[in-house]
């Protein structure tokens, strides 16, 4: 429909981003990415297991997909910057999702260290996507620091709890001029759809697709739900009312007037 998201010169048609963690196999992941027509995907950087020969995940990412490296494992801005630089050196591009997490239970991001990492990496020319707690004041600082988008959480990573931060996400959508991409916690297509109806620019889903019994079908289902939510947002979400509004005509009834 001529509707696309543009970030750093990249046209993004598919507003579902898919993370590559936890798939049962790379070939299945590949088909899921292909069939859902994903434009953006995330990967992580880890020490190689020097004892074994494993396959290269990048070989299983469709060439049309733009890769965003996450800084998972980083506990402060410095570690995030180190990972970003390594990722760039590995020629995987300069799109970086900042994840700075010190909380092992809820994996909630550290907004302040995340902000510092954004400031540093933007200066080095990275296209930076901060995963963050949905706080307006910090989101404004992310904008000032030059982030490409903000990625507030819907609920804890992998919790499948949906958009529990809806109130704050709506405020971010209204107040922040950057794309708002809900990342984390979306467990069902309806929840991804709801984010789009709220006016989010995109969503990132990983766990709910990767650990599904049918990752390929689920990836497509999420893609369709995201598209549906986007269409609804663009077409205008209809107003709600407490009382009913007839869908069949209220005249021309076949009835004698009972008086």
């Amino acid at each position: 429909m001529g509707d696309f998201l543009e970030i750093a010169g990249k046209k993004i048609n598919n507003r579902l981003f898919i993370g590559t963690g936890k798939f049962s196999s790379y070939p299945i992941m590949k088909v899921a990415l292909e069939e859902s027509g994903v434009d953006i995907t995330t990967v992580a950087l880890r020490r190689v297991n020097t004892g074994s020969k494993t396959e290269n995940i990048l070989d299983y990412i469709p060439s049309a997909c733009k890769i965003m490296i996450n800084t998972s494992g980083a506990r402060d801005a410095e570690e995030a910057v180190r990972i970003a630089r390594l990722a760039k050196a590995a020629q995987s591009g300069n799109w970086i999702k900042i994840e700075v997490i010190r909380d092992n239970k809820y994996l909630l991001p550290d907004n302040l260290e995340t902000l510092k990492a954004v400031e540093l990496l933007v200066k080095e020319g990275f296209v930076v996507f901060p995963y963050m707690s949905p706080d307006l004041s910090m989101a404004r600082r992310m904008v000032e620091a030059g982030a490409a988008a903000i990625m507030p959480l819907g609920s804890p990573i992998g919790s499948n709890r949906g958009v529990k931060t809806r109130e704050l996400i709506e405020i971010l959508v209204n107040e922040i001029k950057l794309p708002v991409i809900v990342d984390a916690g979306l467990g069902k297509p309806s929840e991804a759809c709801e984010c789009m109806e709220l006016g989010c620019a995109a969503v990132l889903v990983n766990t709910a697709i990767a650990i599904s019994e049918n990752p390929i079908k689920m990836a497509k289902a999420f893609a369709q739900a995201v598209y549906a939510g986007r269409v609804a947002y663009l077409s205008g979400i209809p107003a709600t009312s407490k009382i009913a509004n007839a869908s069949s005509p209220l005249t021309g009834f076949l009835r004698e007037d009972k008086t």
Binding site: G19, T20, V48, T50, N56, L58, N70, Q91
Partner: protein, 66 residues
């Protein structure tokens, strides 16, 4: 000779370059990234870096992540 690879102390033979280390470890160079003593080494320089006692080497690659 003892060096640190990915945080663990390992014994390697003297005079090994980064290319040699990768080969010794049976790794495929493509899409790896190496940090040598906290400095990222571009692939074209791997041949020229010869490991010294107590060096620290990080060898990283991409994995699935959200």
């Amino acid at each position: 000779m003892l060096i640190k690879i990915n945080g663990k102390a390992e014994e390697i033979k003297t005079g090994l370059s980064l290319v040699g280390l990768i080969s010794f470890k049976g790794l495929c160079a493509e899409k790896l990234v190496i940090e040598h003593n906290l400095r990222i080494i571009p692939k074209e320089e791997w041949q020229g870096v010869v490991l010294q006692e107590n060096d620290s080497v990080e060898i990283l690659s991409f994995v699935g992540g959200g």
